[in-house]
């Protein structure tokens, strides 16, 4: 039921978007250097926060661009939307 403001297209119904999980998990530059534990951490372990979460969304039925959303998972309120590559607000 969200309305998401795509940074490229503006406000749209959530049905136009797809969710892409926790944001700011950077793919390791040198995966081969990691232990199995460290790799599993990247691959599977998630914060799964109840509260303010930084997450990725894709305007999949629109401009197809990925961007970041800061949303409170305890009430689904969206606080901020910012582009890929930008740092999360402190």
């Amino acid at each position: 039921m969200f309305i998401i403001k795509c940074p490229y297209c503006g406000e749209r119904d959530h049905t136009e978007f797809s969710y892409g999980g926790e944001a700011h998990i950077v793919r390791p530059k040198q995966p081969t250097e990691l232990s199995d534990d460290q790799w599993a951490e990247y691959l599977f372990m998630r914060k799964n926060i109840k509260g303010l979460q930084y997450e990725r969304w894709n305007h999949s039925h629109g401009c197809r661009q990925w961007f970041n959303v800061a949303r409170d998972t305890s009430n689904d309120k969206i606080h901020l939307i910012y582009k890929m590559g930008e740092n999360p607000p402190k």
Binding site: T15, R46, K50, Q53, E55, T73
Partner: protein, 417 residues
């Protein structure tokens, strides 16, 4: 010991206008110290406490529930019970549970209304047929009952399914597990609570865990809204909030918590006498003893702790329901609701020790935890009591995400050439 429930006790109590029934469970204040604390008073948690007390002779046990027992996913699911899983490890786990279900009402002296009305899984394309047959064969060789029905047999077994070849995704067959079925979800929580309580387990409601205290790598106790409680063993069975509690203990889990919705129709006279599931068009339906059609909808893709999903998921589910049962069009949705499910990357649960001594997790049941309730509690109790997994839950340890030895129950990816 509690009074025994039976038709005779009902008649006897009718003479005193039912004013002498005992409490089904006490309402104690927490003690300062427990041998084991179970966090989460759902079916799995209460069952864990029950088996800890009954089979492992532990007596000083508390179950801490932040709200009311059975108020989480136990009271929100569509009550489907089956054990026709593909992989050996899953089949072992779920069939262990199914066997416990079969004697549960008598074991607990509480009618959980386990109704073995059969569960069908429909196939709608060649890929489905191949995968469901694969499962049928695997089940059979694992000693789990499972039949394959062709379209004609599907129609005979459940006449109201639309088996016309002209529908968008025609029914091409189905598996049928006859021992599978449904149970009365609330009764499971209440029955285990009553049973655990009779062994002296303290069930403490409205008691939220707010912190997990560690000393080095050992558990010292839990902080709660009713004060600090000392213990060396904590078993966490808090579906929907597993990650929140893991966070308190300083560990991370491979989980995502997502909204899962379900709905019921208004009650009608019996029309469907089995449980029908269809993965391909995504519709699950059964009819409760009260007469309501119980319909499971899907999860939303995003993490949310609101216990609310999107309307589109409900609409999508009903679309599939009407595709399979066009006669339901004039029935009405009476109630819709949501729960929070913790989903593992391989769609299998975790029943495991952790890197912290004395901390155990039972989580990640995704959309299908209810069916496992007795088995999950039974094996989790074993794991906590012995500090090592039972052979039936050994595969469901946390370390599988490191080694890669997953128990992938997504079913084969629906990819075709």
């Amino acid at each position: 010991m509690k009074n025994k429930y039976s038709i005779f006790s009902l008649i006897k109590n009718s003479f005193t206008y039912h004013e002498n029934w005992q409490r089904a469970w006490r309402d104690p204040e927490p003690k300062k110290n427990y041998d084991v604390i179970i966090v989460g008073g759902g079916g799995h948690g209460l069952a864990t406490a029950y088996y800890l007390a009954k089979e492992h002779n532990l007596k000083n046990i508390a179950v801490l529930e932040k709200g009311w027992i059975g108020g989480g996913n136990t009271g929100r699911n569509t009550t489907i019970i089956r054990s026709n899983y593909l992989w050996d490890a899953s089949a072992g786990l779920y069939d262990h549970a199914l066997k416990l279900w079969e004697g549960l009402s008598q074991e607990l002296n509480y009618n959980v209304m386990f109704s073995q009305r059969g569960v069908m899984n429909l196939a709608h394309n060649l890929h489905d047929v191949r995968e469901l047959k694969r499962r049928t064969h695997a089940n059979r060789l694992n000693g789990i009952d499972c039949d394959w029905l062709d379209t004609k047999q599907v129609k005979e077994f459940c006449p109201i399914i639309n088996c016309s070849p002209d529908i968008r995704y025609p029914v091409m067959g189905s598996t049928l597990q006859k021992r599978a079925g449904t149970a009365r979800h609330d009764a499971v929580a209440w029955g285990y609570a009553r049973g655990a309580d009779s062994f002296g387990v303290d069930i403490i409601q409205n008691c939220e865990v707010t912190g997990i205290k560690r000393k080095g790598n050992n558990i010292e106790g839990v902080e709660t809204t009713k004060g600090f409680i000392k213990t060396t063993k904590v078993g966490i069975v808090a579906a929907g909030h597993s990650s929140v509690l893991a966070n308190m203990a300083g560990i991370r889990l491979p989980l995502e918590s997502k909204p899962l919705q379900a709905l019921v129709s208004e009650p009608i006279k019996p029309i469907i006498d089995t449980v029908v599931m269809s993965n391909a068009v995504h519709a699950y339906v059964s009819q409760s003893d009260k007469g309501e059609l119980v319909i499971g909808a899907g999860t939303d893709a995003y993490i949310s702790y609101t216990q609310k999903g999107t309307h589109e998921v409900i609409e999508g589910t009903l679309k599939a329901i009407l595709e399979l049962y066009p006669i339901f069009s004039r029935l009405k949705m009476l109630r819709q609701w949501g729960g929070i499910v913790d989903i593992c990357p391989d769609a299998s649960p975790i029943i495991s020790k952790t890197s912290i001594n004395g901390l155990y997790f039972n989580c990640g049941w995704g959309t299908g935890g209810f069916k496992a309730t007795p088995g999950s509690g039974n094996l989790f109790a074993y794991t906590i009591a012995k500090n090592e997994p039972h052979k039936l839950n050994a595969a469901f340890n946390i370390n599988r995400f490191i080694s890669g030895d997953l128990v992938d129950e997504h079913g084969a990816a629906a990819v075709a050439h």
